[in-house]
Symmetry: D3
Subunit: 197 residues, 6 copies
């Protein structure tokens, strides 16, 4: 093994749980309770409580909202595809795990992260990721022809906003993770890869 | 003039002020009171109230916070430089206006948006924008040498987080503005260019 | 203000008016008479009189010629769009001013410099700038399909030459300005932005 | 699950084992015996027996040779890093599995495929991958300074040839896999991720 | 003349003919007999006999095979076009010479190396080189539309494999030549340019 | 041979010599007298007499001027290197011929056009071409460190202007040649490759 014994999860200070404002601590304990561990993004961003609050409020508004034309798995697919293109360790590994679980597919996350064009995707999902990657990588070139192509695959304008907003939010997340050296929890790497026993 | 008579400020529906949740309306009236007009970003994002709330909470945490090693003008400089590189009309024009006003310099916004390397900048600010642009355009390549260079110019690690977080937040904003066709208010173009009478 | 008191207009020596050959001095006095000031490009290039003469002869053949299918404003639009893509301070700021004045539109120069796809442009002008930018950035890929698209918008082959030749000439100018650190006159920044009183 | 029931492993015909020349069949049975399944690259390239023979002769000369300054795990690291940069599903997934096993590290393959700069690597291995990626992506710029940097990390010129030759061979492999739609076996995705029971 | 008197043909050791394994020596003497000189690629790669054997076995399987829809000249065209795009001195100069001879056309190699879009090519050959360059430069984006376009020009799927495999093999060769500083023999530069007397 | 019998030298009309203004005709006859044929650039640009005059005045000011620190061969080297990077058939082939003749070196033009880093160049000339290519490809990034590096190799600031101005002028020429489909005369391909008899 080439890893140092206890690798840092951030190049910035990581506050102790006890030192956090109550609302942050509550959120963190809630996610720990649900997931069985605390995803490092919560601890790394807790360094800046106001930014933490806004980050997760935005995240939840996009990723957890009820309704809309995108399934939760599809939203995670957008995260994984755009984060792969941005070479973001944390987002590919952590959201890849969530995608495998939501989609009950042990292969899809790696496929989408490496090259969505060769992934096992319906044409509708291929179009969704093509648009997400255009927003992520060349948003200045987005025009009405992009929305028209989405409509051909049954996406409404509201769905298009969702796709673009998720791609945009994770453009931010990728940069935060890359600048802070945010390390994915070891747990994520294997989640959703093997059937539960 | 090649402009249509009343150009749209978004390719998505823009809600009437009367139809907005109370907190959004209050925020919008407050900014109108202060600026004399409503910057279009408030109206365009009001299409999604939860996203509006998170967006401006995040914005304020980064751009309005007291303390820290970056002046408000320097924060706007980061916005203008990275938004220029992302070809974002709204962010360059609107934040360019704010930068001119904060900096009391009618030239600086255009200089920074076009090519920060040729702008009238101190070496410290040049280093700040070099880092911001690396986070914006090539964040996967950020490493400790970037932080070391910032320290040579007197920036602390906390300042570095601020620079990177602003660059990251506007990477998101640029994509939102580009996908929605967010139009800068005409008022911004001339603000801060001529002495007040 | 972050500017040094008297910023240099070139990293090369700038000759005194009195030391110039008679024809250069006459040209400079003529432009000063007309514009009210001497645009710095005349002074910077006067460092090399033979190059000055050829540069302005070429410039005038393209930008001042009578006839042809391009208005003078459209020619300036080509300059501003391609110079924005080349990150050239002098050309964006100086020709942006001229464009605002010719077009009597205080917004158009910033729009075209930042992202012509989102500017207030007719489809004809959009096609004109798409071609100009292809010549400027990827001329090796120009082929007959580009000329066909121009014809659909009413441009003749002679117009196409004009568009391409202006894009090519300013590809040269952008490089000369960038290498010499050619500084736009402060006057340009505000010209054409506010109605004359 | 979004996958078709039996996804193709190549967009070209895949010969039946019985129809193959004896030497190809023997090689394939040998690998099946050792790995427990036949990696698809053997079946896909068997479409062209002469190319199959040369491909695996070359592969073995680089990846299986005894001696030299690179461990087998390090050779696989080069494959994974350069194949990640080339967005090659087959090579990242299949060689990622081998890397995890050789290195007895369940995290290293994903880390190296996504962004080797943020992987758990010694400075020596970081330098090795920097060079491999330069050969893979910008070989025209390789010069003596690259060899000097490798020497600082203890690599001889012969090691440098090995690194470069592996990067070059997989530049070929990536293109073959991408053009043929070579599909990684499902088995690879989970290999080396969980301790054997 | 700016050349050193005896420029090296490789930055790695080049073995003496007498020290080579018998099969390598035989191959080299055979090519010398046929061409009148030993192309440097044989000497440079002889530094690694096993790699030499695999390299030329692969080369011969692709470039010398009988049958198939590509003429030998067309195969060389693929080499020259893709090697031009990879800035590989050895491959452009050596295979350019072979292309001129096969095609009995003194202009075609330079045309194809510099910009195949402006070369004297039939539409069929233009399509062949477009595909080869896509495999060489952006293989992750290859999809069925590329094969469909080739079919419109009369290429079968087997021809498509040939085109792609040659592009892939020379992607490897270009990197080997660039990393080793492989120098083209002076003889190649003028071969096929002037009528034999 | 795949060439049409009489390939066009331009996609635009080429005027008959008899129809040209006297000064253009005189210049063309002069060059024909000296070279033995009329380089196509003269005929292609004669379509626009005013642009022809300015183009050659500029060309002569840069390429034919007496004095300065650059030999005529070095000036041609700048043309060939930057035109290779811009994939310009006419400029690489025509100026490659002139470079071979001036330098009395049959290899140098192909070397410099394909990859100047691997060409037979002194460190001084390597630095000259590095700067020329930066001006040609990334002029917005030129700064004082580039001039400092040139000085280390004995270039004055006036030499730097010459290098940059030649790179800039041929950035224009490359675009004019690419847009017009300017065809190099067949004569250029072999000039300077074989000793005169």
């Amino acid at each position: 093994m080439t890893m140092p014994d206890v690798p840092a999860i951030s190049r910035f200070p990581v506050p102790a749980l006890a030192d956090l404002p109550e609302d942050l601590r509550a959120r963190i304990l809630e996610v720990q309770d649900k997931a069985g561990f605390v995803p490092n993004v919560f601890l790394v961003l807790a360094h800046r409580p106001d930014e933490f609050r806004a980050f997760f409020a935005y995240h939840d508004a996009l990723m957890l909202k009820e309704g809309g034309g995108l399934s939760k798995a599809e939203r995670e697919m957008i995260v994984v595809a755009t984060s792969g293109a941005a070479n973001c360790q944390y987002c590919v590994v952590a959201h890849g795990a969530i995608l495998r679980i939501y989609e009950k597919n042990p292969l899809i996350a790696d496929q989408v992260a490496i090259n969505h064009r060769k992934a096992d995707l319906t044409p509708r999902r291929r179009a969704m990721l093509d648009f997400a990657l255009k927003v992520s990588l060349r948003s200045a070139e987005v025009d009405e022809s992009d929305y028209a192509r989405l409509r051909e695959h049954g996406f409404t304008d509201e769905d298009a906003w969702d796709i673009a907003a998720i791609a945009a939010f994770f453009a931010m997340s990728n940069r935060l993770a890359n600048m802070s050296g945010m390390r994915p929890n070891d747990e994520f790497y294997v989640m959703g890869r093997v059937p539960k026993r």
